[in-house]
Amino acid sequence: MTRFAVKATLRATNAPTGPLGRTGARMAREAKLDGHGTWIGASVPRKEDGRMLRGSGRFVDDVERYGALHAAFVRSPYGSATVNSIDVAAATGIPGVHHVLTAADLDNPYLLAVLERDEFVPTTMPLLAESEVRHAAEPVAVVLAEDPYAAEDGAEAVEIDFTPRQAVTDLDTAPTGPNVHSGLADNCLVDLTMFDDDRLDGVLADAPLTVEAEFSSARLAALPMEGRGCLAEWDDRDGQVVLHASTQVPHQLRSGIAQALGLPESTVRVIAPDVGGGFGLKCVVGREEVVIAAAAARLRRPVKWVEDRQENLTASFHGHEQHYAVRAAFDTTGRLLGLAADIRCDVGAYSAFPFTCAVEPLMAATELPGAYKVPAYRARGRAIATNKPPTAPYRGVSRPQIVLVMERLMEKAAAALDLDPLEVRRRNLISEGEFPYTGASGITYDEGSYRESLDLAEKTVTEAGWYSERDELRAAGIPAGIGFSCFSERTAYGTPIMAQRRMGMTPGYDTAHVRMDPTGEVIVTTGTCGHGQGHETTFAQIVATRLGVHPDQVRLRQGDTDLAAYGWGTFGSRSIVIGGTSARRAADDVAAQLRRIAAHLLEVDESDVRLMHGAATVRGVPGASLEIAELARTAYFRAHTLPEGSEHGLEARGSADPPGTFSNACHTVLVTADPGTGAVRVRRYLVVEDCGVVINPLVVDGQVRGGVTQGIAAALYERIRYDGDGQPNSATLMDYLAPTASEICPIQITHLETPCPYTEDGAKGMGEGGTIGAPAAVLNAVNDALAHTGVAMDHIPVRPEDVLSSLSRPLATVGGT
């Protein structure tokens, strides 16, 4: 077998020396080359790593412009108030302050996210508040100064006269509280009853077992380590405002700016440089980003804004604050007969552009049944407005909660019927022979390994001695428990699925361009926008495999609206399925062009030409071979030698728009609770997951582990709190408890592989699964640990005081606080 290592070494002679050659050699050693030159499935080291490790990544605050002004926003100190007057005189007198802009100075621009449904109430979100503020930290004015320190000085000197009003801060009091928007009945922005099944009430009335329960989850911050931020400048040559922004969705941001400011899209260019995490926070358009673009366009001077952590926690977007009231009917064998759910989401004061505040209730109502067969179903989903910041689709988007609801229901039914909870799950999971399965909410599930992943997880932890470990801990007086969660996760929502939401802008498809240059190197452009997921590496693996070149020879250009075709960015576990498939299709087209040139030059049949290991070879003709670089040279520099009518150059475009494909997993966790402090500790964690064909195991495992960590955080630590006046109580990382390495244990991962039927590579999305499965597994484990107390917990996060009170040891006796 020819080893690609030889090619990689040869290549290094005309490539920049040093790291590339070394990386290439290492890659070839590690790559799972099977003789067909595929890079799919290889743990190729990430192309992103070198610059990040050297400190030469380029994040938005690393981009400097001569003469840039720095912005500081003046924000509301009240949860709800009338703005009577704004006095900027003192602020403009501060040394270094150049401008103070209010809504009136910018002609009162706003963002409007729309859903074309009667049950939806749109909310106009002013970029800068005009006569009212609807949540604490809402921006009212912006100070532009020579440096960020002077801008802060200026912001402190802006005098705003407010008349505070009673704020609405929780789901229960919102319906009877003051209206967040004038005339908004019950403070309800969305109220949808879906999949109403006539039989359901009868099923619930007649069932041998009906389980009624309520579940809730706290408000969370996505908390990327890099906050939001942007640098806008006017480019007089191109007649554009150019915005560098820390975003997941450059094109959507461009559309938002264009719509809010009434500009043609071609006069706005958005560039996402390296982005320090997003997790959904950066897949919506921030008011600040549009204000900065507007200011730079007006002043014809660069303007930079870098969000600080306090703004990130109090003034950006939150998510995840939900309440479920559920009734479920079971037969005596534990089979689910019917399910009714009343879902309320606290969405804050406005709809974020473009997804709207309906994203959480719609997702929850549509996908609640999850991996289980629910014969009769009804869900009411509501979005309730409060005087808190608006919500963005945080990683997982309602699926952490709906999985938690279903997994707790399985446990409760098993307990009531005295059955093994895993057996109850098995009786309800969609299983082999039933795929493709269409559920009560009309969703069609492509094939998965729902039962297999549960069986394997149970076997693995049993053989690894988790149950005996739990029992030994219990014998030593330490509450210990094991929890499971089973789920499937729709990923890669294409336009057909997104269209069901009826958004004003329907996301879904994506487009890639693949271009080989005259030296045989490849550039791929995509509308997806990776921000830590390793797309530069995984897209290169996909394209290199099709073109028979090395991934080192493939460069991904992303995050630039002037370079890439309109694309929807990176969110919803879509990029490798939709963006990757687009790139593959374009690459297949370029591969066909290469094969045609090779066939002509070698005088063989096109269908006999193979592209592999950097060369075109001919099936059945051992000596016939041409370097791919030679084919590229011919295409560009010796086009006259090609048959008449040949395409010029080597490039193609590909698109993909799949209907959505389901990954699945089973999570298992062993926890202990400290009887003295009530602290829950995660001791062992196993994920058996199936995301179809894995492109790069290193990257996939990293996504799973990071996701699980965020899910554990939601289950045990994180909570954005507001007091009754709408004042934020989680404004620093001292108050918002993101887990450190000490709170997280090693996470073991096993892969199953059920390929996606809609794409050529068979990969399914998997960016959110870790976050989705972990809260339910952890909560079940905590309940198992506390089973002897008779207390059932159905909320997250579970706090130490909750554990202590269920152990009948009030916190006061422990810490005196």
């Binding site: 050297r54 400190g55 605050d61 320090g276 995490g277 997790f279 620093t732």
Partner: protein, 163 residues
């Protein structure tokens, strides 16, 4: 009138002399006055550790130190770790173990780990590495790759019996 000071310091062996406002943080000075943008700011209140650098060999939060306090000091930042394009053993271990995703927290972890490794010996077990790395926050990786990378380097820099 701004309250400014003339200071000198060395960063990764390069000597710098500059005028800096007294209230300017060391992090802002390194990033925006001297161009060492590898030092990142994740919270500016001393919790996340993204801004961790070595000040006279001690790990410090550059967001909690004023630039003027570094007068006459030796600073090491992430930019000083690699030898040209050649990554250090620690940097290479981070890549091999997938100890980074978005890379924003990475410079802080590398500098924290450098400080830890300068004191650790081969007995550095995963639990003590975890505890040391708990000084900083990472939102992407779940810490496993970071802990494994630091353990690897602890072992290779301090082979058992060498100390």
């Amino acid at each position: 009138m701004k309250d400014v000071h003339l200071i000198s310091l060395s960063v990764n062996g390069n000597e710098h002399e500059l005028v800096v406002e007294s209230r300017r943080t060391l992090a802002d000075m390194l990033r925006h006055d001297l161009g060492y943008t590898g030092t990142h700011l994740g919270c500016e209140h001393g919790i996340c550790g993204a801004c961790t650098i070595l000040l006279d060999d001690q790990p410090v939060r550059a967001c909690l130190v004023f630039g003027v306090q570094a007068d006459g000091c030796e600073v090491r930042t992430v930019e000083g770790l690699a030898d040209g394009d050649q990554l250090s053993d620690l940097q290479q271990a981070f890549s091999d173990r997938h100890g980074l995703q978005c890379g924003f927290c990475t410079p802080g972890f590398l500098m924290l780990a450098e400080a830890y490794l300068s004191e650790a010996d081969s007995s550095a077990d995963p639990e003590s590495v975890r505890e040391a790395m708990a000084s900083n926050l990472c939102r992407c990786t779940g810490y496993q790759g970071i802990v494994e990378a630091v353990c690897d380097v602890a072992r290779s820099r301090h082979p058992a019996g060498s100390t």
